[in-house]
């Protein structure tokens, strides 16, 4: 099944002609509406009329997350606020979040792309979609919700957390499709066992998992524990939210990126040059239909590769590989995006704490864990256990309040955290070792 047969299976020449038309119109629009892009293009000595082929895209400067922060909150919006019907923002960041705005048409496009994604995953009208992505500023919940409604499925707006209730409802309401983070799905499976609920007895058939990196071996584990078909979905709030790309259930081999709305490029993050098809690099996306906040050559920092090979499902849109890492040091912990520098700024705010810290990320019982090691020097030291424990708890609370992620603070002896000249090693991620 294909949701939008016409556009999802457009022959490549027609698709590329459509992309070019939409790209030209986007560049013209941002040049006229957004000072940031006008300045960027002027500086590069380019006018919108210079864009005459898809490869001309490479002449344009990149857009970085920092550019969004610098124009906080609405500086990159390309329409007047009266046309913005929805605002989302990136989760779990200190200081300024990145803010995105959607016009009514943007919401419609997003809903359609999520509906397409549901169908690609093997869902259909009549399904009961159990949406356990968080509702709120985070794009996951509402993005999946609107797509499910567009598809004509019955959506249960569960949001995250409250695991026992999730299981009860999944069982009693007969949920057939689950949307959440991959790690939460395994957590649900274990919690269900404890509740005496066997996933194999549920009607659940498909799981659509995203918002954090996962692996093929994790897919196998999820599929066997939940007795479902597990599908990888990709998205980021800056570009739209969930539904930028998704695997088709027919092939489960790469995520189709909806190319009639997004132009993907894979670059070498160091040089900025394109890498050959099939080689790993950083995914760069240009939105070509977005009205609220169009982004030109946005550096996602996600590492993947792309293939234009035909797919057995019949869709002609290119496929990107499962995300294999980041070209920056961002960590995704239980779906929350965290930069080590954010932890550092939290630590620096706590009196007497030195910026010598190490983050240990691991996965225990299918949930991401974050340990923050902090060195105890003479300033911090107290010879009473309760004072040191209170200090550790205060740091844990501050990190939770500021970044929205639960962590464990471990106090360590001074100089045990390796110092290095240049870039200090701040993170040990053990999740890949399991």
């Amino acid at each position: 099944m294909i949701y939008n047969e016409e556009f999802e299976t457009l022959p490549r020449p027609a698709l590329e002609a459509l992309q070019l038309k939409r790209l030209k119109s986007t560049i013209k629009r941002v040049y006229n509406q957004v000072p940031f892009y006008r300045e960027g293009l002027d500086k590069a000595g380019i006018i919108p009329e210079d864009i005459n082929s898809l490869s001309d895209l490479q002449k344009l400067p990149f857009t970085h997350k920092q550019d969004m922060r610098d124009s906080y909150p609405y500086g990159l919006f390309a329409v007047p606020m009266e046309e913005i019907v929805r605002i989302h923002a990136s989760s779990g960041t200190t200081g300024k979040p990145t803010v995105v705005g959607y016009t009514r048409k943007d919401i419609e496009v997003w809903s359609e792309l999520m509906a397409r994604s549901f169908v690609a995953a093997g869902a259909h009208k009549g399904d009961i979609i159990h949406n356990a992505y968080g509702y709120g500023l985070f794009t996951g919940g509402l993005g999946a919700h609107y797509g499910a409604e567009r598809l004509g499925a019955s959506v249960i707006p569960m949001s995250g957390g409250n695991t026992k209730k999730q299981i009860l409802i999944m069982k009693d309401f007969g949920s057939t499709v689950l949307t959440c983070t991959p790690s939460y799905s395994l957590y649900l499976a274990e919690a269900a066992l404890e509740e005496g609920v066997d996933f194999k007895s549920l009607r659940l058939r498909v799981g659509i998992f995203g918002a954090e990196p996962w692996s093929e071996s994790m897919r196998k584990e999820i599929e066997s524990k939940l007795n479902i078909c597990a599908i990888d979905i990709y998205g980021l709030s800056e570009i739209m939210g969930p539904g930028v790309a998704i695997e088709c259930h027919e092939a489960k081999n790469g995520l189709h990126i909806w190319e009639d709305h997004f132009l993907p490029e894979i670059i070498d993050p160091e040089t900025g040059n394109l890498v050959p098809e099939g080689e790993k690099g950083e995914l760069v996306i240009t939105t070509i239909t977005k009205e609220g906040i169009p982004l030109v050559r946005y550096r996602t920092r996600d590492i993947t590769s792309i293939t234009y090979d035909p797919c057995v499902c019949g869709r002609t849109h290119a496929r990107i590989a499962r995300m294999s890492g980041r070209s920056d040091d961002m960590l995704i912990i239980r779906g929350v995006n965290i930069f080590p520098s954010q932890i550092e700024s939290v630590l620096m705010k706590i009196e007497k704490v030195e910026p010598h810290y190490l983050l240990i990320v691991d996965r225990k019982d299918n949930l991401d864990t974050l340990e923050v090691q902090v060195e105890v020097d003479e300033q911090l030291f107290s010879d009473e256990v309760k004072h040191l424990q209170a200090l550790a708890q205060a740091i844990e609370k501050e990190i939770k309040d500021m970044l929205g992620v639960t962590c464990k603070v471990r106090l360590v002896e001074p100089k045990t955290i390796l110092r290095s000249e240049g870039k200090a090693k701040r993170v040990i991620d053990k999740r890949g070792e399991h």
Binding site: E378, F381, L388, E413
Partner: protein
Amino acid sequence: MQVDQISIFIENKSGRLAEVAGILGEAGVNIRALSLADTSDFGILRLIVNDCEKAKQILKDKGFTVSKTEVVAIEVPDRPGGLSDILHTLDRESINVEYMYAFVERCEENAVIIFRFDETEKAIEILLNQGFNLLQGERLYRM
């Protein structure tokens, strides 16, 4: 009337205690009393030694986090109820004991207990008024 104690932050990993003891031994520092408070992640080793300044300096040089704390050494009659008398006196006066531990050596017929109070000066005054015998640091280090 106060006694110097050094406290050392120790991560909960094997060999750390042995290392501290080894460093002090090599430097000729004699441990007179000790107590270890521990949690699952770390411990605090508290020591009364014959040369507090020296011990502190060499441990610091070896990269340990060390602090000096003032504690009180009280002579306790070595009989049932000996400790209880002291604790009741402190309780009546609302002095909190942060922690306490026993000294290895006896002082003639009496045991010696090391106390850390929240209000050290006040505790000393009360104990002396009540006729308890407090030991001077100099005497303790040489015991």
